[in-house]
């Protein structure tokens, strides 16, 4: 893929970004702003001085939760909508390959999520500032892995949206996988609750499913525990490898997909 290919991917990505921002992301940010304002105003009164911790917990959980919701529910429509509206066909007639189209969609939604997470992080810092709390930059050590997990979710959702013709089914399968990935520690210790389960199956499941627990640094960061660059580096490598793998399968499936 040359510079022209890259510029075509970026064009699709920019278009996807504009489209997704216009759609639902603004409502999410508005709701987040409201939640943070209410937290900042009320929590000090009703939590016995735990407001700082709770503000951080809520903000980080909201980034994770809302980001996942956007990744899944916007992500499943990225390709299928183009097919339903038949806007994909003229696009395919242009010199844009299917690979470039899919990678552009992936990059566009990932960028939307990056903006979403960054605005939410800014909202968190603003709330901390307005409530007279220190601006703890170490929080970013939890924000970055959240973003990585969202990128991974986008890749998974794109794959399912290509594999399944039904949007609802793709969304359902994506959610199942995301939830299962959050239970990876349970899967790893499954032998304790199901001694009869074959070890190879447990191991296979544990390594095959996306391990979303890897990206959860919220607890450590809120309590001020150190997060090493090594930890973040390995998590980044994990996300990169998994995303590349999933996108590779998605590209292969998309090349074979017939549009009727």
């Amino acid at each position: 893929m040359g510079p022209r290919g890259l510029s075509r991917i970026l064009a699709v990505a920019a278009n996807t970004f504009r489209e997704t921002i216009r759609e639902r992301v603004l409502y999410n940010l508005l709701f987040f702003a409201l939640v943070m304002t209410v937290c900042g105003l009320l929590l000090g009164q009703i939590s016995i001085r735990q407001d700082e911790k709770i503000i951080k917990d809520i903000a980080l959980a909201a980034m994770d939760l809302f980001g996942t919701a956007i990744a899944v529910f916007v992500g499943v429509g990225l390709v299928s909508k183009e097919i339903e509206r038949r806007s994909l066909y003229p696009l395919m007639a242009k010199p844009v390959t299917r690979d470039e189209f899919l990678l552009g969609k992936f990059a566009g939604l990932s960028f939307t999520l990056l903006v979403n997470v960054m605005v939410m992080a800014a909202g968190l810092y603003l709330t901390l500032l307005l409530t007279g709390r220190p601006l703890d930059l170490r929080l970013l050590a939890a924000v970055f892995p959240i973003f990585l997990s969202l990128v991974l979710t986008v890749a998974v959702v794109l794959l399912f949206s290509i594999l399944f013709t039904s949007t609802a089914l793709a969304a359902f399968a994506s959610l199942i996988l995301v939830v299962a990935g959050r239970f990876s520690d349970v899967i790893r210790n499954m032998k304790e609750v199901a001694p009869g389960a074959p070890a190879w199956l447990i191991q296979g499941l544990y390594y095959a499913l996306p391990n979303y627990r890897n990206f959860d640094f919220k607890d450590r960061v809120v309590y001020g525990d150190p997060v090493s660059t090594g930890d973040l580096g390995w998590v980044t490598v994990y996300a990169a490898v998994y995303v590349a793998l999933v996108l590779g399968i998605a590209l292969a499936a998309f090349r074979r997909r017939e549009f009727v």
Partner: protein
């Protein structure tokens, strides 16, 4: 027919009137009948992977609201859900130290100020200590709760000594441990311990609670002084003083005749004994253990 929507709007001012009537009948603050659908922190943890801390915050807010609601607004003041709520909170976030400290206070304080379950409070603090071994405050609280609520000087001293060994712990913990062991159950030791809590606590319920206990103990000191003076009066006059006012006028004591919050002491002229008035906001049945 076209006017009906406008006529319906005229009903708007009726709403506050109806609400006022309902509030008048049921009270403006009505305690919600709380229900817990999940009784195990482990179950809640399993249902919310990645969001355990957020759930802990939600359960902590529920705990505070439940306790405050029962204590302030409930007529029968039941604290049945307090223990499970605190347990779920701490299971979800074992490092939420405030939940152990305040939860134990809520649990241990005698009914109706708290749940009156000091054993549960001590068990909670023991779990807190196990989960947060580097937190000397939890060990200090554990020692104090053993001392105040279970009258167990040996365990209190042990917990305080362990607290003193935690890096960063203040040196006075060692002295407290020794005092508690020597004077187990005495009012002086109690005063010393509450004074430490009062001085260390930030403004809030823990400080207020320590202040209340200090006020109680100061009042008991004043009562002791009055009773001693009344005995001296009786020895000299051949009869007990007719009132605390007469005792004051005799010049035998300068002790106050009101408690630390300004409520006059009760006085029995036939026995010559003063006591804390049950009408006083600082009166508690449990104070009997410190005498008189």
């Amino acid at each position: 027919m076209r006017l009906i929507p406008y006529l319906a709007l005229l009903l708007l001012p009726v709403l506050p009137l109806v609400q006022q009537r309902i509030d008048g009948r049921l009270g403006s603050f009505r305690v919600q009948h709380e229900a817990l659908y999940l009784w195990s922190g482990e179950h809640v943890r399993r249902l919310t992977p990645g969001f355990e801390n957020l759930m802990a915050d939600i359960y902590w807010l529920r705990t505070v609201q439940y306790f405050g609601g029962q204590r302030a607004f409930s007529t029968d003041k039941r604290f049945d859900l307090l223990g499970p709520l605190v347990n779920i909170t701490t299971a979800l976030d074992p490092r939420l130290v405030i939940a152990y400290r305040y939860g134990a206070t809520f649990l241990a304080e005698p009914w109706p100020m708290g749940a009156g379950k000091p054993e549960e409070a001590v068990a909670l603090l023991r779990r807190g200590v196990a989960q947060n071994p580097r937190d000397w405050r939890l060990r200090q609280d554990l020692g104090m709760f053993y001392f105040f609520f279970l009258s167990d000087g040996a365990h209190a001293s042990e917990a305080l000594m362990e607290g003193a060994r935690v890096p960063g712990a203040p040196p006075f913990l060692k002295a407290l441990a020794a005092q508690v062991l020597v004077k187990g159950g005495e009012r002086q030791s109690a005063k010393m311990l509450w004074q430490q809590i009062y001085e260390q606590s930030e403004p809030g319920q823990l400080k207020d609670n320590a202040g209340l206990h200090l006020a109680q103990l100061q009042s008991l000191d004043a009562i002791d002084a009055l009773n001693e003076a009344a005995m001296e009066f009786a020895r000299r006059a051949g009869r007990p003083p007719a009132s605390l006012e007469e005792l004051r006028r005799s010049g035998l004591t300068a002790a106050p005749v009101v408690d630390a919050v300004g409520t006059p002491f009760e006085y029995n002229a036939s026995t010559g004994k003063a006591s804390l008035s049950p009408r006083s906001p600082i009166w508690r049945r449990e104070l009997a253990k410190y005498g008189p």
